[in-house]
Amino acid sequence: MGKYILKRFIYAVIALAIIASVSFFLICMKPGDPIVAKVQQLPDSSRQVLIAKYGLDQPMTTRFVEYMKGLIFEGNLGDSIVYEGRTVNMLLKTSAVVSAKIGLIAIAIQVVIGVLLGIIQALNREKLGDQIIRVLVVLAICIPTFVFCALLQYFVAFKWKLAPIMGWGQPIHYVLPVAAYSIPGIATYSKYMRTSTVGVMGEDYIQTAIAKGCSQRRLVFRHILRNAILPIVTMVPVAVGNVFGGSMVIERFFSIPGMGQHYVKAVSDSDPYLILGMAIFFALMYIISLFFVDILYGLVDPRIRITKNAR
């Protein structure tokens, strides 16, 4: 196992290095001038000074080497151009936590409700309960997030005054964003859960368990759940890795200072090091989450043993 983790670590470092390099050159190719995003009515002379200040006049390779030096030796993701004087590390630290808080709560809700709904559907396959949940699930998946946010904001917050329209800081401010974040996920998880539960229920060992006179409760939790949850287990770490990216739409609607807003703004401002820093951070989270997926495969499914594959 230790050897396996070491190998994965080395791979992760290589992958990150490639991602950082590819992203760096991609971002340099991206049209748009960060200086213009910062100041629109700038005389050309001042503009030249700013371009020189941020090293944008240097050849791409020189900038790349400089950036990589800072990244490797100091863990420095660079400076934002639009946010004068702020480092990318600072911006990441504050906003990633905000996005993660909302996302993690939402994922917990999604998994619990999604799995339960999925099992309920599978156990009552083709019965009324199954059909109703199916249709609700589709409705939940079908509404674009921005429509959903607009509806929640208008009815729950504005009309019924059950939650604040927007804001951040108090626990009550979590309600609407978490709701908006959870719904599509609940639908997705319950859908996967239904399919895989139905599959598991067709397996021989379930028939055996039933024949042995296993109780319904024990059957569901010991035999079905453990086997049927595999697809969900492999999806959760990726979802967790993604929460650090936040959701631009939700954050924008509810005025939450999270990563999603920053990322879209950085891209539209062409703020090169901010985009790059975020991209590297997302990549790191993604790679870590995939690593956990592979570990979890082995833990959850007795049929897969990672150490065997890794040799």
């Binding site: 590819v22 190719m29 079908c142 674009p144 997705t188 975020m278 991209a279 993604y286 049929r303 594959n309």
Partner: protein
């Protein structure tokens, strides 16, 4: 009665009946292929048939709607703005006086094409690479997984901006940009399934019988993963429709005056509190389409899954 008492048989007591009788014993039902069996089981699922009917209706409406309404989806007539649905304007008009019915039909063409094109592309690439990675394991798996990690990590929005700049703001560019990273999800899913399945006895049996890896992946492993893949597919069509609507929301989607359901929803969402019907219709169409794909997907899952075969 006479025959009963006869104990010695002559050769002409027998007639050649061929193997007809044996066949009749072996197959109790008329011979059917795999696909017709799928279709039969699919038909048995009422909800799925409803889904198929809805989808056909939506597609018909999207194809022929503009002709039936006889209006231009981009014609602005300010005097006709914000008219509620009526006999002339079936879905009403928007705040620039454009006919929403025609716009919804027109936008649907683009949304459906984007959803299907992206799904097909990411399905083909994803299941091929996922299948190979999962079955072969070892170095190949490691390599492909790293490639997936890298591709999945490249900043998607930046890629879209660059591609739309290089390839122009066309639908091809949009499909290309959206699938370039999306297949990785399918690939990981298929790989996980294949890893699980390849330990099972039927694969060992096939290997023992000398089947080539390609044959095992295509004939034995992929069919067994179809259930999960189809759920993935039916979920990915709406997710592509939404990706496009998100891109429209931040201004990177289809180029005006072209439109899509996502673009319409994003535009009419601003009128939610004033003229909710404007938002209602594009959303209704998205819901119907996605609903139908889901119902069809559910039906297909049950119909295709070898484990569920009755």
């Amino acid at each position: 009665m006479e025959a009963n008492s006869k104990l010695i048989f002559e050769s002409d007591d027998f007639e050649v009946v061929g193997t007809k009788g044996l066949d009749a014993e072996k197959i109790s039902k008329p011979s059917i292929t795999f696909w017709s069996d799928v279709w039969r089981r699919f038909r048995a699922n009422k909800l799925s048939v409803v889904g198929l009917i809805i989808l056909v209706l939506v597609v018909l409406m999207v194809c022929f709607g503009p002709m039936i309404s006889g209006k231009d989806y981009q014609f602005i007539d300010y005097n006709m703005k914000n008219i509620k649905p009526n006999g002339t304007y079936w879905f009403g008009t928007d705040e620039m006086g454009r006919d929403i019915f025609t716009r919804v039909c027109y936008g649907g063409r683009i949304s459906i094409i984007i959803g299907i094109a992206c799904t097909v592309v990411s399905f083909i690439i994803g299941s091929a690479l996922g299948g190979i990675a999962g079955y072969l394991g070892g170095v190949v798996d490691d390599f492909l997984m790293r490639v997936i990690e890298i591709i999945g990590s490249i900043p998607y929005l930046v890629l879209i901006v660059i591609l739309s700049f290089v390839l122009g703001r066309s639908m091809f560019a949009l499909v290309f940009a959206m699938t370039i990273t999306a297949w990785t999800g399918t690939a990981r899913m298929v790989r996980g399934q294949v890893m699980q399945l390849k330990q099972q006895d039927f694969v060992a049996a096939a290997t023992a019988l000398g089947a080539s890896p390609a044959r095992i992946i295509v004939k034995h492993l992929l069919p067994n993963t179809l259930g999960i893949i189809i759920v993935n597919l039916t979920l990915s069509i709406p997710s592509f429709i939404f990706s496009e609507s998100f891109l429209s929301y931040i201004g990177l989607g289809v180029q005006p005056p072209e439109t899509s359901w996502g673009a319409l929803a994003s535009l009419y969402q601003t009128r939610l509190m004033f003229d909710p019907y404007q938002l209602f219709f594009p959303c209704l169409m998205i819901v119907l389409t996605v609903l139908s794909f889901h119902l069809i997907g559910d039906g297909l899952t049950d119909a295709l899954d070898p484990k569920l075969r009755k």
